[in-house]
Symmetry: C2
Subunit: 205 residues, 2 copies
């Protein structure tokens, strides 16, 4: 660890809404010269949940992402205020978006999503021992729900059908944990992922 080679000379709020603040900073750069840095500060922590049922299926949430103007299949995700317990927030997002509650929660890891410009942090969970109920999405959300075999969800991260970084990291991490636990032999998992991806390409083509 080193002290910061950056020095902040001034900061002003360039833009602000309920979800983010954009700071325009005047800085001295590591090479000693003057520069500027625009920082996007997030009000919420991002959480994402791989909810895995007893049949080995995971729930995916589809929505049209305004930022990309494109449809996106993802694991259940949401923003959790920084003063809320992250796992409680993740449980709330899972329940609201899919109606699912989970008895067992396991943290998969923590990420910084886009650290060249933002300070957005994310925490990922594996949720098991599921009970299904009624979804109650927020009024801004127009969501579709799909349950898919875990191997298909993993294949979707590999062939570009899932591109959301939180979803990709979470599903790949569960896959690595399953390999490590010996629940899947390498050949078995590879063959299954290849088969699912091939079938998808056949259907698309």
């Amino acid at each position: 660890m080193t002290d910061s080679p950056w020095h902040r000379r001034s900061r002003r709020v360039a833009y602000e809404n309920r979800w983010l603040t954009v700071w325009h900073d005047e800085v001295t750069r590591p090479d000693g010269r003057a520069g500027i840095y625009g920082v996007v500060h997030f009000a919420n922590l991002a959480v994402g949940v791989v909810a895995l049922d007893a049949d080995g299926r995971v729930v995916l949430v589809g929505q049209h992402r305004y930022t990309l103007d494109a449809w996106s299949w993802e694991i259940p995700e949401g923003g959790v205020p920084l003063d809320e317990d992250p796992v409680a927030g993740a449980a709330r997002e899972l329940r609201e978006e899919t109606g699912v509650t989970a008895a067992t929660w396991h943290e998969l890891g923590r990420l910084h999503l886009s650290n060249s410009v933002t300070d957005e942090a994310g925490i990922l969970y594996l949720a098991t021992n599921l009970t299904r109920g009624q979804a109650a999405p927020e009024e801004t959300e127009a969501l579709e729900i799909r349950w898919v075999p875990f191997a298909e969800a993993l294949a979707m991260t590999l062939d570009g059908r899932i591109t959301d970084s939180l979803s990709v990291v979470a599903l790949q991490r569960v896959a690595l944990a399953r390999v490590a636990a010996g629940r899947e032999t390498a050949g078995c998992q590879a063959a299954r992922v290849d088969r699912v991806a091939t079938e998808h390409r056949r259907h698309e083509g």
Copy 2:
């Protein structure tokens, strides 16, 4: 795929610098009510490179990230203008940050890093058949370079020493590909990752 359930009623530029534009949009939300959306539009495509040498080691780049005010170990990364060939940009970033050139490039996948607020996209590569040379980092960069065994880099993504999303996805994807190719048996890889992580915790404690 569906048409967008969002309707944009107005857009103004709220902030702009060389790397990003922040749009403040007035929208009609999926539920038909009026709302706002702040979108962070990126000028560059993010690229990241797992550069793997003949001894099975990968190069990591360490730097103090201004956005987080914290040190971060990552794969070599950079921003590539949208009109530049991404693999050429990735090769340039790898060469500038580490001095390494690679004869073989393989795309590992594409991501959207933070799609609730930004349109930032990333492309990840595996680079092999490496030649080492002299690094020439940009003047804003104060970088450290480390070569580590692949298993240790993977362990760093699992135990929180690497949190950058592009780095995590890329290293985990190479790990899954190695499992699928049968180069590592599941038990072998799990044991190696566990050993590296345990040794790290012993050194830290």
